[in-house]
Amino acid sequence: METLKYMVKRVFLALLSLFAIVTITFFLMNLMPGDPFMSEKATAETRAMLIAKYGLDKPVIVQYGRYLSNLLKGDFGTSYVLQKGRAVREIITESFAVSMQIGVRALISAVIVGITLGCISGLYKDRPVDSVIRVLSSIGISTPGYVIAFSLMIVLSVKMKLLPVTYDKGLGAIMPVITLALYSTCYLIRLTRASILEVLNQDYLRTVRAKGMSEFTVIFVHALKNSLIPVITYLGPLTASILTGGFVAESVFNVPGLGRYFVTSISSRDYTMIMGVTIFYSSMIVIMNLVCDILYKAVDPRITLD
């Protein structure tokens, strides 16, 4: 009952947040210089006709009212520039499906490898294995995504010819997954290591050991569970961002996903796409944060949802 009440409250707050995001984004977007129909070839006359055709000649408040009204009907409009004429909802649905395919694999890889190596690193603190993991994770975090992506491409595709240069649903997914997962994996290693080290110094673990529990039980039942709270906090936004794709991985490997639109929709002033991807991404963040809050409770029953 407590959980249900909490969820109703959070959903209401989420809708309120989304409304604020839509409103702020819409007006900020209209404050940006330029418009979707900037082109070297378009005459002033044709540009004016296009602006009128899409109602961009109306006052911004009128445009906003019309957008909200359409949004409530589930109509996100059509793309002005990036995929001229296609429905934004259709573009997002289609590209999210691709991003999610890669994202799920990247997320699972990041979580399994990140938490496992983080635990090992923490448990073998200051031993050679810890040093190796720490150095590698530092390199992974500090190396730009472009460098990782092109290094993989040149070695595995161009030189060794093991994998296709660009994305496909088969082997071509490996390099985008690695590129997308690497940073998060390394970050999770460091986060898990720090949490484990903090928990290992707690008194209750000494008590558990004193009771004669095996080291496995001490680590994986008692220590790991309690060290997961900060990891879960990170996993919420990570899941949202990784599932919606990454600009670098998608651009370099030509993945037809959603990630590229976060940048290209803004640079091309594709207003309907800017709004569409912003609303979608915000919704993902809101949902994932809610899921994380509920997970806190599952991991640590002392936490009250209110």
């Binding site: 070297e40 070839k41 296609r86 590209s95 699972i108 490898v113 296709p164 030509n254 037809p256």
Partner: protein, 546 residues
């Protein structure tokens, strides 16, 4: 031992995940499926050719721009890559032939009336759409009307020269031009003027031609799939009238603007052509597939002669001083992209019956060989205008729209500082550049024109409309000479009028040319030939394996 076991388990887990990552639909198509076996030096070390011949013909992979430059609606497509794609799947009354010249396409015959104002086209008998329906004259008329209504980049390309068009029967298209327009065939070979099926537009509305199956095609190829942001697959139409002479059976048209990715695809043999290549890799690809083609463009500094421009620029002596002080050769050397020096608005590439290039036919805007002398003259002109040594020169805003143009602009501004002592001009890269320029919100600006079709009128005509040329310049003598040029059929007389246009612009200097850039692209010419490249448009239709 315990540690070794943990590491072994980890490695095993990583391998399992890698396998999981490559699971999914193993039957999907990839461009690498097309990779053949032939080794080619043209594409770099140890690379393989991207094409292979199957029962359906030669299969090739190409990179031609990104998704946002792609479009299959002929009325709204504006970017070069989309226009190029349309040239493969649609066809107009004219087309670009294997020799790169404009030749009859869907029309079997074209007749021009004695006064040159009425053109009558008779359609071929063997032309069909990809759904088997015959292509009719009404499809062309609807296409022309649809273009005008669409109000996009090229919506006036036909109506600028023609005032009426009609289908007198299923096979006859009649176009009345506003003047004896000798370059009408070039316009009718341009994708915006291709035929459109009314029933398709009515069925799909705004989403017409946004998916492979939301349009029908009358060109040599049809779109069989369009994976947005990834690739378009085109397949040869066996019922196309000239199918027997086309070797290419399938085109895997990869959509990307990531230059390094395209280069790696070329090196790995996934593709045989790319129109994008990183500038820094150009040198390494010389003799490895790099090609240059005339960009058919110009790259200028524009002076705002309108109300919003600074008054100092309305003094032609100042404009000439600024023009003469630019060290064009140094800019070209720094860019190292095979540019040609700009001493005329029109680029090279147009020759008359005597084989003389137009840029050699006209008087250059300045003495390109004597930069030192130009600088002395520039100092003198600036002093005459009252700004000796740059003293008292007002602050000016020089706008550009990207980093590479900013670099060129900064080099130009540096010349003005070094030679003329002017240190009050600031280069600003701005968002909303085109809106700012067309609104006159600048003093100096980058200006460049890429030709749409190979006729001088397309270049010089870009300075005709005050509204469109953005520098708010107009000159009655220029307009008269231009109108005389486009209505004259005699080439000598026409070139003399164009020469007069160039001379008037050289005198008034609404813009000053800096250079004419070259288009760079990668093409595996060791294993293939027949690529047609014209005005930035690439045509793969006539490619053959060597």
């Amino acid at each position: 031992m315990k540690l070794k076991n943990i590491m072994a388990m980890l490695l095993a887990a990583l391998m399992v995940m890698s396998l999981a990552a490559c699971g999914g639909n193993g039957g999907s198509e990839t461009t690498t499926a097309a990779a053949g076996e032939a080794t080619t030096a043209a594409a770099g070390d140890e690379t393989t050719a991207a094409g292979e011949t199957t029962a359906d013909g030669l299969e090739i992979g190409v990179v031609g721009g990104s998704e946002d430059s792609m479009g299959l609606n002929t009325a709204t497509v504006g970017a070069l890559n989309g226009l190029s794609a349309c040239r493969h799947v649609y066809e107009g009354l004219y087309k670009i032939g294997a020799d790169g010249e404009v030749t009859l396409g869907q029309a079997a015959k074209a007749e021009q009336s004695d006064d040159g104002l009425t053109w009558t086209f008779t359609l071929r008998d063997d032309i069909t759409w990809s759904d088997g329906e015959p292509v009719t004259a009404e499809d062309f008329i609807y296409g022309f009307d649809f273009l005008v209504e669409s109000a996009d980049d090229y919506s006036t390309i036909l109506s600028d020269v023609a005032d009426k068009w009609e289908a007198t029967d299923d096979k006859t298209v009649v176009i009345n031009t506003k003047f004896a327009c000798g370059y009408l065939p070039s316009i009718l070979a341009f994708p915006s003027t291709y035929p459109v099926r009314k029933d398709m537009v009515e069925e799909f509305g705004e989403s017409y031609a946004t998916e492979a199956d939301k349009a029908v095609y009358n060109g040599p190829f049809e779109v069989v799939s369009w994976e947005h942001q990834a690739k378009i697959v085109m397949s040869k139409r066996t019922d196309y009238y000239d199918a027997a002479n086309i070797a290419v059976g399938k085109i895997n048209w990869v959509l990307t603007s990531e230059e390094s990715t395209a280069l790696n695809q070329f090196k790995s043999g996934d593709i045989i052509y790319s129109d994008v290549i990183p500038d820094e890799e150009v040198a390494s690809m010389v003799n490895n597939g790099l090609h240059y083609a005339s960009g058919m463009n110009n790259y200028c500094v524009m002076f705002n002669l309108g109300d919003n421009g600074n008054d100092v620029l309305k003094d032609v002596r100042v404009r000439e001083a600024l023009s003469l002080a630019i060290d064009r050769q140094r800019i070209i050397n720094i860019r190292d992209l095979n540019d040609e020096m700009g001493y005329s608005l029109t680029c090279s590439g147009f020759t008359n019956a005597d084989g003389v290039d137009f840029v050699d036919y006209i008087d250059p805007w300045f003495d390109a060989e004597d930069y030192e002398g130009n600088c002395e003259k520039a100092k003198q002109l600036l002093a005459e205008a009252g700004y000796e040594g740059g003293a008292g020169f007002p602050a000016l805003n020089y706008i550009v729209n990207n980093d590479s143009r900013k670099e060129v602009a900064e080099s130009v501004v540096n010349d003005w500082k070094e030679v003329l002592g002017i240190d009050t001009i600031t280069v600003n890269k701005i968002e909303g550049f085109f809106a700012a320029r067309s609104g006159g919100d600048f003093d100096l600006a980058y200006y460049g024109w890429w030709m749409d079709y190979t006729d001088i009128s397309n270049m010089i005509g870009s300075m005709v409309s005050v509204q469109d040329n953005n520098c708010f310049w107009t000159n009655e003598d220029f307009l008269t000479a231009y109108n005389n040029a486009i209505t004259t059929e005699d080439q000598k007389a026409q070139w003399d009028y164009y020469k007069e246009c160039e001379a008037i612009m050289a005198q008034d200097l609404p813009v000053t040319p800096i250079l004419h850039s070259q288009s760079t692209f990668l093409f595996d010419d060791t294993n293939y030939d027949g690529l047609v490249y014209s005005c930035g448009n690439f045509v793969f239709t006539y490619i053959k394996a060597k």
